[in-house]
Subunit: 251 residues, 2 copies
């Protein structure tokens, strides 16, 4: 993760404490800390916000209250307004992903950034939108009904994601999770093929090569760890032993 | 949006109806419709789930209940298990974005896919994880406390996003939002520069060219619509009129 300053989250005229708390939790999960409230309907502090945000890294405790949206975003250099649908404005409309990229770039230049959210009932009014640089609209299916906490969550997530360096696909690597060497794979193949040969599985002889190569391809595709190679060899020993015993008993 | 079959969402042993409802709403927002519940703690149907999911496109009404996780995912061809943290498994661990790409690719091949979520208290157990192809873990900041509804939301969002063709940045285009022609821009420049010239703003003469080019650059950067060009010309007329009147009155 980068150490860039995360965007400020500004909630304009929020109504329900639960939603403020949910927004704070969403922020804390993705490294955002600065929450500002413009004239929250039920006053501040709010017990329902506290309950919903319990443990969310002090985001609610440090939230600041402002009288107007202009004051709340006054010292910021880049601010995006979130809207649920297009509003007949000529402002640029960004996906959360594109907005996150631009917010990261601005933060990298040392700019102070923010994302402004309207309230649960009516969203932002056109006057508030006109104070911002551009608009963020979350693309959805035909049924579009994201609540305030969910909208904050998706934007916070996208901001984190834009600066995140987590490998898209990985496996854990402990001492037993190391990859086997090629030599260890060859030993596995030799062991398996020897036992299959002696059990009569690799029959008829003219198909021997094809069958062996198909089995090796299956094993390779599993991308075994060293530990799994050892387990598999133990399984082969156990299965072959059983077979030899049955043979001895039966024959 | 593609018409690919969206992943099935399977909630294993969910506890709170509210969370089931929130998961259903999250799904509906992003075009997912098939919800399966493994042994929900408080039985099914559940009034709290109904209340939370009100209007969410029938996702809750059509949810199906299964006795075991194996039965719930039995006919699927690709299933990912979600976990909040690494579990000492050698399974591949995917980000939601990478998982979404693979789910879209599988759906494009006609495969039936699903994402399995554990319950609020304990997540999935290792036995359930072992039934799945790989693990999805949502990258977060140090404070990591996403609830079930949020985890479903982020995965549903990523699935939609992976198939979404929304332009990352766009502006609306109505008849008045069309781009001005170059000729219309030249007329604006000529009008503005004529009035600035006659008002004495473009002074001294040797800086005239530099000043005009700087003003044009500012105007270009605003990427005006045709309507905005007309508004700006009206503003220039109004401002210049005022000035002429003052001059007349004052001189």
């Amino acid at each position: 993760m980068s150490a860039r300053a995360a965007p400020v989250i500004i909630l304009s005229h929020p109504q329900l404490g639960e939603n403020i708390g949910a927004a704070a939790r969403a922020m804390a999960n993705f490294g955002l800390a600065d929450l500002r409230l413009v004239a929250p309907r039920d006053g501040w502090p709010n017990k329902k916000a506290d309950a919903m945000a319990a443990g969310a890294g002090g985001v609610v405790e440090c939230a600041r209250v402002f009288g107007t949206t202009s004051e709340a975003i006054g010292e910021l250099e880049l601010v995006y307004a979130t809207t649920a649908r297009e509003r007949g404005t000529t402002k640029e409309i960004l996906t959360p992903a594109e907005a996150a990229k631009r917010l990261q770039a601005a933060a990298a230049r040392g700019e102070k950034t923010g994302i402004l959210f309207g309230n649960e009932r009516a969203g932002l009014d056109n006057e508030e939108i006109s104070l911002c640089d551009a608009v963020i609209t979350i693309p959805t299916a035909d049924f579009a009904s994201l609540n305030l906490g969910q909208a904050v969550l998706l934007n916070a997530y996208e901001w984190f994601r834009a600066g995140d360096t987590t490998t898209p696909a990985r496996t854990e690597h402990g001492p037993l999770h190391r990859k086997p060497t090629r030599e260890e794979m060859f030993q596995l193949f030799a062991h398996l093929e020897r036992e299959l040969e002696s059990s009569g599985f690799l029959y008829p002889p003219e198909k021997h090569g094809t069958m062996v190569r198909a089995i090796r391809a299956t094993v390779h595709r599993a991308r075994l760890t060293y530990q799994e190679v050892q387990t598999l060899r133990g399984m082969i020993v156990a299965l072959a032993k059983g077979k030899h015993r049955v043979k001895k008993d039966g024959a």
